[in-house]
Amino acid sequence: MLYIKNVTKTFNKGTDDEKLAIDNMNFHVKPADFITIIGANGAGKSTLFNLICGTFLSDCGTIELDGQDITMAQEFIRARSIGRLFQDPMKGSAPGLSIEENLTLAAGHGGWFSSVSKDDKQRFREALSLLGMGLEDRMKQPVGLLSGGQRQALTLMMATLNPPKLLLLDEHTAALDPGTAEKVLEITKKIVAENNLTCLMITHNMQSALDLGNRTIMMDHGRIIFDAEGEERSGLTVQDLLDKFRENSGKALDNDRMMLV
């Protein structure tokens, strides 16, 4: 499904601030994998997403998605098959456009001069009602009036309205309060399961890294230092993950943003 082969990314090459963000990474994602990614700040998790999405181009190596080489493809071309959510709920939708208009953009079918049809509206209403947030009755309201949690749920809806080949979640619940985060995570699980999506999720919550998905990856200094799936993973505890980190990176995982429970 997604192949990352010998990919390296260095920032500020040739200067004092040179930073090796991704170090000769090789990585394969199978169809319908739901992979959780953990690691300290600066481990290269977001850079990995940026490389997959085309925000940055890699220094070398190739990235293949669904049999197509997308290493040099432009960001908006890749976005047709990749859905992405950021930590900041404000990033994923246009506040001055209504819920309906945002969804029309996300639905993205039809020509440039097509406008929203009755069928589309019905489809949007049904999709929104699954969120259980009452958004289906606020279709004409500008998105700027929604709360952070509602906006993130809407962004998730927009990203998956046409099921993407790959869904990238970059700590998408980290800016929400615990209750809302829980709810958005539930919706995420539901949408990923229903559409059988291939999904990568960065999280700082070690417990949800183990609870969600079928595979967990730990990154450090641009490398994958631990990769567990199947039976090996089902027996893991948060303490095991911490031990693995110390064992593989030679230091304790004592990041203040890590949530150990």
Binding site: F76, A79, K91, G111, V116
Partner: protein
């Protein structure tokens, strides 16, 4: 002042307001929707006037409209390419195009800085001959202007509802979102600026034919005047639907012209127009800003006065 002169005054203000309203609608698209302050507006307005006049003088009054709009599209395209593909800041791109257009405009006018259209056919004289003998003949200029404005508003209302129109609005509203969605911001910015500048070109073309002459300075200050009009319209129709907002922009243009015409009647010298438009823009933008700052200023004053009381 007699009633008939008041009507004439209002009529002139309305005609000019409608014709300049086309430029306001251009900024409605580029400034308000796309969030690009297009400083090539002045030059583009003159370009539309010059191209329109040249074509009309060659004996093609209808073709002059199409030619002026096409010239506007080209001008907008250059501005867009500079800022999306060549790494030039969007304000600077507008200024550069504006400067370059000065030479082009003189060239279009055959090396002269003034073209006279007294004897040639324009869309206004054509409309006059169509209406000849009817009661509407004294309104022929108004009718042309209304048709142009109505066409542009209807176009904008329909266009901004399409996927392309929504994409343009999203590009101006949340660039972060657009970057990570499948919309190409370079494409939407380019299309938006091309369309907006075609309206500016049309506006210039009609203005030249309305006053039967083109001066190389016809467009000077248009961007400020149009911004002032847009912001005046915004005061009344900010949170309404797109078609109402567009009508509000034209209404702002009319109001601006009306105030200006009245001021002229009260013996304000004509050269004051541009200072007034600058002040209006300053008030319209700074006003809301100070409104948000007022609570803080008031609180500071309270704290200071309490200190003094001690």
């Amino acid at each position: 002042m007699s009633l008939s002169s008041i009507i004439t005054l209002g009529q002139t203000a309305l005609e000019l307001g409608l014709i300049c309203g086309l430029t306001v609608l251009a900024l409605f698209l580029s400034y308000k929707m796309l969030n690009v302050c297009d400083l090539s507006t002045d030059g583009c307005f003159t370009l539309g006037a010059a191209v329109g006049a040249a074509v009309a003088l060659a004996g093609h009054p209808y073709l002059s409209i199409i030619a002026a709009m096409t010239a506007g599209v080209l001008s907008g395209f250059v501005t867009a390419v500079l800022q999306t593909r060549m790494g030039i800041d969007s304000l600077l791109a507008g200024i550069i195009v504006n400067t370059g257009l000065y030479s082009i405009n003189i060239a279009v006018m055959g090396g002269a800085s003034l073209l006279n259209m007294n004897k040639c056919d324009t869309v206004f004289t054509k409309m006059k001959s169509v209406l000849d003998g009817t009661a509407l003949v004294s309104w022929h200029k108004m009718i042309v202007a209304v048709i142009a404005v109505a066409a542009v508003i209807i176009f904008l209302s329909l266009f901004l509802r399409t996927r392309l129109g929504l994409s343009i609005r999203a590009t101006g509203n949340n660039p972060d979102m657009v970057k990570s969605s499948s919309i190409n911001p370079i494409f939407t910015t380019t299309v938006g600026l091309c369309i907006a500048n075609s309206f500016t070109g049309l506006s210039g073309c009609l203005m030249a034919q309305y006053q039967k002459s083109v001066d190389i300075n016809i467009g000077t200050g248009m961007v400020t005047i149009a911004l002032a009009s847009l912001l005046i319209g915004n005061v009344f129709f900010a949170r309404k639907s797109i078609p109402v907002q567009a009508c509000g922009a034209v209404f702002g243009s009319f109001l601006f012209r009306l105030v200006y015409t009245i001021a002229l009647r009260m013996h304000m010298p004509a050269f004051m127009l541009k200072l007034i438009s600058s002040v209006i823009v300053i008030i319209a933008i700074a006003g809301p800003y100070f409104k948000t700052q007022m609570p803080i200023i008031r609180r500071r004053m309270q704290i200071n006065s309490r200190k003094e009381a001690r």
